[in-house]
Symmetry: C2
Subunit: 272 residues, 2 copies
């Protein structure tokens, strides 16, 4: 006789709340082993406990139920373990981000950070290897890492000649809606680029530039300085913002060593 447990017994045993168990039944994630057809009482098998524990662990990490479903319903144990490992790696990435945010909050408390110097420059139009996509805010770092890696491989494979650091363009929509067009690029020497099919042209024009040193978690302070500067002078223009990764994630493992140039498009150099 396989022993069946009532919902409250199963709840105590798994540390999943009764309300949550009903919800997991409703959405089909963890249906009870048996349901009494007349009373609709739910009955769980003790053998379902490991699945419930798995769900609980992932929910503790705020994983959406849809993604948990993929784990729970994965065919064999190997497939399941592979999915779980992938999720764990992204969790560890997220953990690093949280730690960086905590550190940057501490920074907000301490003495005022030195204000980044703002300069003017006129970017010239250059050819580049590019990838463009509609990217969601939270996935940007991963997307950028993946696509710059792909571009770097493409550059090596095609024998192209690099003419500057990796970079990216961010549409105004991306900042305002937290989803929008992003372009990852590697600038190319013009001569070398002429015979490369997938090279696009990066637009030039006047920009206000600030060099940001350190973690991306602090980039917003540089944006605030730069944006305030541009707004106060009324020289802003609705064009993508460009970041040049002068010292980027492929160049160093230390967050403090990162150097990012933020180029904010403007109408004209206000000093000229």
């Amino acid at each position: 006789v396989a022993s069946l447990l009532t919902i409250s017994e199963f709840s105590r045993l798994t540390h999943v709340s009764v309300k949550a168990l009903r919800h997991y039944h409703d959405v089909g994630l963890l249906p009870p082993a048996a349901v009494d057809p007349s009373t609709r009482y739910r009955f769980y098998a003790a053998a379902q406990a490991p699945t419930a524990l798995l769900i609980r662990r992932f929910r503790d990490l705020d994983m959406p139920l849809d993604q948990i479903r993929a784990v729970v319903e994965s065919a064999d144990r190997d497939a399941r373990d592979r999915i779980v490992l992938a999720h764990l790696q992204s969790m560890e990435r997220r953990l690093e981000q949280v730690q960086a945010t905590v550190a940057s909050l501490r920074g907000l408390l301490g003495p005022e950070a030195p204000r980044p110097a703002i300069a003017f420059r006129t970017l010239i139009s250059t050819p580049a290897l590019t990838v463009t996509a509609r990217v969601e805010w939270d996935e940007t770092e991963a997307w950028l890492r993946d696509n710059l890696t792909a571009l770097r491989n493409g550059l090596e494979y095609s024998g192209g000649v690099r003419a500057g650091a990796d970079g990216a363009l961010y549409s105004t929509e991306f900042f305002e809606a937290h989803v929008g067009e992003v372009t990852a690029f590697i600038p190319l020497a013009a001569a070398a680029a002429t015979d490369m099919g997938d090279a696009a042209e990066l637009a030039g024009g006047p920009v206000a530039v600030a060099r940001h040193r350190g973690s991306f978690a602090d980039l917003d302070r540089t944006y605030a300085e730069l944006g305030t500067f541009v707004a106060e002078r009324g020289i802003g223009v609705d064009a993508p913002i460009r970041e040049n990764y002068a010292v980027g994630i492929f160049d160093t493992d230390e967050d403090e060593a990162l150097v990012t140039e933020v180029c904010w498009p403007i109408l004209r150099d206000p000093e000229s």
Copy 2:
């Protein structure tokens, strides 16, 4: 002339989405510096950027808006910094928990953990220093730490005689609804307890016991073993579950060194 920015300019500058800015206005967290009375257009001052950044940072850490409000509206800078520091410390606690959960998930993938041995015991009723409260699931670890600390101080102050390890009682409601009565306790030698006003009596009775070694993040596996065992034999009884912290958080800093006895109340010893 203090320069005022449109909502989209302010959004780009702070990396807070336009929708979020409207929401923060609606709930009164970050009202624009000016609102056009006829068009209802929102206008922000550049000086509001630091506040927006603070909100964004905290939201990245999933802090509720109500708590962020307390930070933003705190009177002076010192008060604000104190609140932020308190939050950072609880964030770091949370980070440790997440890391423990990630580690325990890795454990689920590896070889089967050894099953904890289950024994029977009859607890005798004993006096104890206790604190009882309605506790929410997510706050249990912090609540327990705080209240066991207070009990330990109380014990020292009153010169009471300890008769066993720290422990806690968890009502069935606590597991089933993820909020319910929890009692932290320190058992007392009976002779010494008679003249202590705030000593209560811990109920005794037969229990199934499992010793859990390691992080609390893995406790659910021991609960599952124990609960399955009890349920299969139909000897469960609706009484609080007792945990004895044989090696607890005050005894060691290493999660792996922790030893927790879980005592599950039963009707009778099925072997007798």
